[in-house]
């Protein structure tokens, strides 16, 4: 039959020290992992901004013209995009009509 191990105060202090080291090490490793994941995510996600309409520059010109008006189109965006502000109801007289033509 085995008897219980008797630990001295010095043994207890050494055990507590090891536990503290493990805890600090785990916390530091977690921080490094989170920072690393964030960096990779930021580098690989295209994201969006107000100017990021996925657009390209369209030249409103023909090859024989010197006059070129450039503007941005959304001919490259990978999805159909909604407006930045929500349309609202109004009771005023309309400026113009939409409809089929």
């Amino acid at each position: 039959m085995k008897s219980a191990i008797r630990l001295t105060p010095a043994d207890r202090n050494r055990a507590m020290g090891r536990l503290r080291s493990i805890t600090i090490g785990t916390a530091v490793a977690s921080l490094v992992a989170v920072a690393g994941f964030g960096t990779v995510a930021a580098a690989t996600n295209p994201g969006s901004s107000k100017d990021d309409s996925g657009g390209t520059t369209a030249a409103l010109s023909d090859d024989s013209s010197d006059t070129t008006t450039t503007t941005t189109t959304t001919t490259n965006s990978s999805s159909l995009k909604s407006t930045t502000t929500t349309p609202s109801t109004t009771s005023g007289k309309a400026h113009v009509s939409t409809g089929s033509s």
Binding site: T56, S61, S82, P87, T90, A94, S97, T98, G99, S101
Partner: protein
């Protein structure tokens, strides 16, 4: 300064240019220049347009102008994002159902025609290199950029007008395909949502306020005609090559650009019953009118019952 406007006809439809706190004549001049260039470049009904010359010139890939490249990119993107429901290779199918001329002449013809329907070739048949600006159209394939082309013209015209006025805001409507640029008037651009873009803006009905972006409407009731007693319209179902039989007669969609709005509106009609869920999944505000006249509002489309005086 109050909103000012100028209206005329071009590209076979009504053109309206509205400015808020900006030079109307400068804006109109810019819009006219864009529309003239669009007409020269990708009109299906001008034999001397760049698109017509490409179609008549065999299947070999050729270098095209920047504007035609943009129009092709918009059309092929619409086809891809709608799983081919909005497809630029419907040109032959359009002719097959009698839409082979300016619409004013198409709708006055009454003589019967023999219609042979077949699935359209599909947008994948097109050889297009955006970077090199080359386009190859296989023999027998006819392009029609009508769906996205008019909307792109609205976008380009609005942006060109805003670029020259350099202040305030601009709204351009091409047959009800409406694009805006710059600052809207206080309370937003007020849009009467009708089934026919020729309905006068003071006719009464559902009016919404648009603060940015664009709105477009597609439908089967306006660009429609009869040949030999058969009712026909211009929205082609790619699967059959004939006018689509849809539970929706009109779809209006609000989006960031007029190209996106028109693409979604046209696709909604062709999608049929699955359109509401599809529009919802894209986060687009839309209003569908059923064949029976019932109104269905999708996403953030405003509730007309909250507006005093709304019909």
């Amino acid at each position: 300064m109050a909103v000012q406007r100028e209206s005329w006809r071009a590209l076979g439809t009504g053109v309206h240019v509205l400015v808020n706190d900006a030079d109307l004549s400068a804006a109109s001049e810019a819009v006219r220049a864009v529309l003239a260039q669009v007409d020269r470049t990708y009109s299906r009904f001008r034999p001397d347009s760049e698109l017509s010359r490409i179609s008549d010139g065999g299947s070999e890939a050729r270098r095209i102008s920047p504007l035609l490249a943009d129009a092709m990119a918009a059309a092929l993107r619409a086809a891809e994002l709608t799983d081919g429901r909005v497809d630029p290779t419907v040109g032959k199918a359009m002719r097959a159902v009698g839409y082979d001329d300016d619409f004013e002449r198409v709708r006055t013809r009454t003589d019967p025609i023999a219609i042979r329907l077949e699935p359209i070739p599909g947008w994948q048949a097109i050889q297009f290199d955006r970077r090199a600006r080359t386009l190859g159209v296989p023999t027998g394939v006819e392009l029609d950029l009508g769906s996205t082309g008019k909307a792109l013209a609205s976008d380009l015209a609005a942006w060109a007008a805003r670029a020259v006025t350099r202040r305030g805001g601009v709204l351009v409507s091409l047959g009800g395909d409406i694009a805006t640029a710059g600052d809207p008037p206080p309370g937003g651009w007020r849009i009467l949502v009708a089934e026919d873009s020729d309905v006068p803006s003071d006719a009464g009905g559902e009016v919404i306020a648009l603060h940015d972006g664009a709105i477009a409407t597609s439908g089967t009731t306006v660009r429609a005609w009869r040949r030999g007693g058969i009712a026909l319209h211009h929205l082609i179902d790619p699967l059959t090559g004939g006018p689509v039989d849809s539970p929706w007669r009109t779809a209006s969609v609000i989006a960031a650009t007029c190209v996106d709005a028109n693409t979604a509106a046209t696709a909604a009609i062709i999608r049929g019953a699955t359109a509401p869920a599809w529009l919802e999944s894209l986060g687009l505000a839309a209003r569908l009118v059923g064949a029976d006249g019932s109104i269905h509002r999708i996403g953030t489309w405003p509730d007309a019952s909250r507006a005093a005086g709304a019909a």
